[in-house]
């Protein structure tokens, strides 16, 4: 019997989706990858909650309560959790709001904005609670590996996954290790 496929889940928290796009920048190589890997919860599938998985890739930091719930779901279900990209690792651009109070950010967006009719801050219960500051993943859960870059290049995704699939300790060579 064939070995079952390695199960991978992915999610975007407070990120821009660029890390997911970069993952897809492996282009046709995804076909070969799919011989060994199956996707579980991911923006690419309609699976809304994680089953037990081997690898979790998390893009983006934490800016609201939903982000934290999803991160905990990933940590509970994924044997290996990888923080992908600048936002997941140190908050990235969204964390630039940490220099200001949350209230002042909300006021700027909703009360002082140009061309707005009825200045008010949305507050329906369907909207998740915002955290006062944006946090990187490792402040809340244990993270197994960090893949830097904004976004990490496609080659770096391929390398870290191949290493893990082949049972090696991941190592990203300098040529494909980017921090920008």
């Amino acid at each position: 019997m064939r070995n079952p496929k390695v199960r991978v889940a992915t999610t975007s928290l407070a990120g821009c989706f660029g890390c997911h796009m970069s993952f897809l920048d492996m282009d046709e190589r995804i076909v070969a990858l799919l011989e060994q890997v199956e996707f579980n919860r991911s923006p690419l599938t309609d699976i809304k909650h994680c089953d037990p998985c081997d690898i979790g890739l998390v893009e983006g930091g934490l800016c609201n309560v939903d982000n934290v719930h999803v991160l905990r779901e990933f940590r509970q279900n994924c044997k290996i959790l990888i923080a992908v990209g600048a936002c997941a690792i140190n908050g990235g651009v969204p964390a630039m709001r940490n220099h200001y109070s949350l209230q002042s950010c909300l006021e700027e967006a909703f009360l002082n904005e140009i061309g707005v009719d009825n200045p008010m801050i949305p507050n329906d219960e369907a909207l998740p609670l915002l955290l006062d500051k944006v946090h990187p993943l490792h402040e809340v859960v244990h993270v197994d590996y960090y893949l830097p870059g904004c976004p990490p290049p496609a080659d770096a995704f391929v390398k870290i996954l191949t290493d893990l699939l082949e049972g090696r300790e991941p190592s990203i060579p300098a040529e494909i290790l980017h921090y920008d």
Binding site: S22, P43, V65, G115, D117, A126, L127, L130
Partner: protein, 493 residues
């Protein structure tokens, strides 16, 4: 899917959370009573960035580099809209011919990759397998298994668009393309020649994609009626009324085709559009001021552009447009799912335009920097992003630091329309029925037609802080959020 009973009215709220196979973060909620009657159907945008605030005090030169990180799917759109505003800040009205063409080439590459991603990777499973088909198979992996040729062509069209971007901006995502009044680097002969190798194939695959979408859309009346609305359309057009992505005048036409404005200078956008805030979504609701809040909502994006323009300047896309228009018999095609078809017509137009630009000797020019003029305190840049008209507006102080920023991202303009389509589909398919996963996917199909970029849309979202503790791995409280007045209290940990 989660259900919470609302005791008072014996109502329950059903949430599709997260909306999947879209870019970014959103959820749909239905408020239903015991007989499965729908009382409310809404698309909520659930993230907040605070960009308008934290951009303040930064030098204007940084702006195009920040804003692209609002959205990794269409970073080039934000980069270019901001760059157009920055050109005005440094007193430049006309770029050098080479810089203008490089920006157009970049934008065509971007629109191609974004459209291909949306159709092939995200939406094609609904259209190829059926809206209520097996959830486990209804994704790009299923398409690769069942329709490998279509899937691989899609992957390659997207790849090509990304390669165009990388040749100009240095990398595929979040590169460095523009400088105030110009471009950062020329296109080399080698880069140009490398792009020429595959362009004929890309044009052919794009034609296949148009044909596929035409067949899917026209073969089934259900597709024609699905979430269909009658709305005005907004888009840029060139001075002759042709489809235009990078620069032009605004055209708004009413649902019956009557002109509301044409060749409107977008720097006056605040006279045209105002925005309303509703408490249940972080995304604002823009409307046309002259029509008022109730009547003034409109649609943007591929469906708007292909309907609104008088012609497309490249021959294959133009003949595709004529076939598209014949569906409406001259009137606007208002079918919501025809967004997909219009999107592929634009991919074909991008492919043809890229070929044209690559053969233009000026594209290899090295005169990239327009002479800077007198500094101005305000800049407004507008382009047709893949998802529709995108507005960037900045004011700077005497030191060149940002004082004020206002963005109306494309998806925001479709906010009301997406909600209307969700409501229409909910009433058509779910009203009175037991709710199943397959039925709920119908709501997402309606949202996906618009290709919403909920990442972009999060730039200006937010809500009052509530009280929640964020506890770190060591058990220490590292954040606390305070709840204002009523509503559920959500505790972490």
């Amino acid at each position: 899917m989660s259900e919470a009973s609302l005791e008072s009215k014996k109502m329950r709220r059903i949430a599709v959370d997260p909306v999947s196979r879209v870019e970014g973060h959103g959820k749909i909620t239905l408020l239903m009573d015991e007989e499965n009657h729908i009382h409310e159907a809404r698309l909520h945008i659930v993230e907040f960035r605070g960009f308008e605030k934290f951009i303040q005090g930064r030098p204007y030169r940084e702006v195009p580099y920040f804003v692209q990180r609002l959205c990794g799917i269409c970073p080039v759109s934000h980069h270019l809209a901001a760059a157009k505003a920055v050109d005005q800040l440094v007193g430049v009205d006309d770029l050098t011919p080479t810089s203008l063409k490089l920006r157009q080439l970049l934008h065509f590459g971007q629109t191609m990759q974004s459209h291909a991603l949306h159709f092939f990777h995200l939406s094609s499973p609904d259209l190829l397998f059926g809206f209520g088909s097996d959830m486990k198979h209804r994704n790009i992996v299923g398409v690769i298994e069942d329709y490998p040729e279509i899937a691989i062509q899609g992957v390659k069209i997207r790849k090509y668009g990304q390669q165009v971007i990388a040749a100009i901006a240095g990398k595929r995502i979040h590169g460095a393309a523009t400088v105030p009044g110009g471009m950062n680097k020329p296109l080399t002969i080698n880069e140009r020649d490398a792009l020429l190798v595959d362009i004929a194939d890309v044009i052919r695959w794009s034609q296949d994609a148009v044909a596929l979408n035409e067949t899917i859309h026209c073969s089934d009346q259900e597709h024609r009626d699905f979430g269909t609305l009658r709305t005005p359309f907004m888009s840029l057009v060139d001075p002759s009324g042709n489809l235009e992505m990078y620069h032009g005048g605004l055209r708004v036409r009413m649902a019956d085709g009557a002109a509301l404005v044409d060749q409107f200078d977008y720097r006056g956008y605040t006279e045209l559009v105002r925005e309303e805030i509703r408490p249940w979504s972080y995304m604002k609701f823009p409307y046309l001021q002259s029509l008022g809040k109730e009547q003034g909502w409109y649609r943007v994006g591929p469906l708007a552009r292909v309907n609104n323009c008088d012609a497309i300047t490249t021959p294959l896309a133009e003949s595709a447009r004529q076939r598209f228009k014949s569906l409406g018999g001259g009137a606007f095609v208002q079918d919501t799912l025809a967004y997909h078809w219009a999107r592929m017509i634009e991919v074909l137009h991008c492919a043809e335009s890229i070929e044209r630009l690559l053969h233009d000797p000026e594209i290899l020019g090295t005169d990239l920097q327009a002479p800077l003029g007198e500094k101005r305190s305000e800049g407004i840049g507008v382009i047709e992003a893949p998802r529709g008209t995108l507005f960037h507006h900045y004011k700077i102080d005497e030191d060149g630091l940002i004082e004020k920023a206002n963005l109306i991202v494309s998806t925001t303009s479709n906010n009301q329309a997406m909600n209307e389509s969700v409501r229409t589909v909910a009433n058509q398919y779910i009203e009175g029925n037991e709710v199943t996963e397959g039925l709920l996917n119908h709501l997402e199909v309606a949202v996906r037609a618009y290709d919403p970029c909920l990442s972009c849309a999060t730039h200006a979202l937010g809500k009052m802080p509530l009280e929640v503790e964020l506890v770190g791995i060591d058990g220490q409280v590292i954040d606390a959020v305070r709840k204002g007045s009523d509503g559920s209290f959500d505790r972490i940990g």
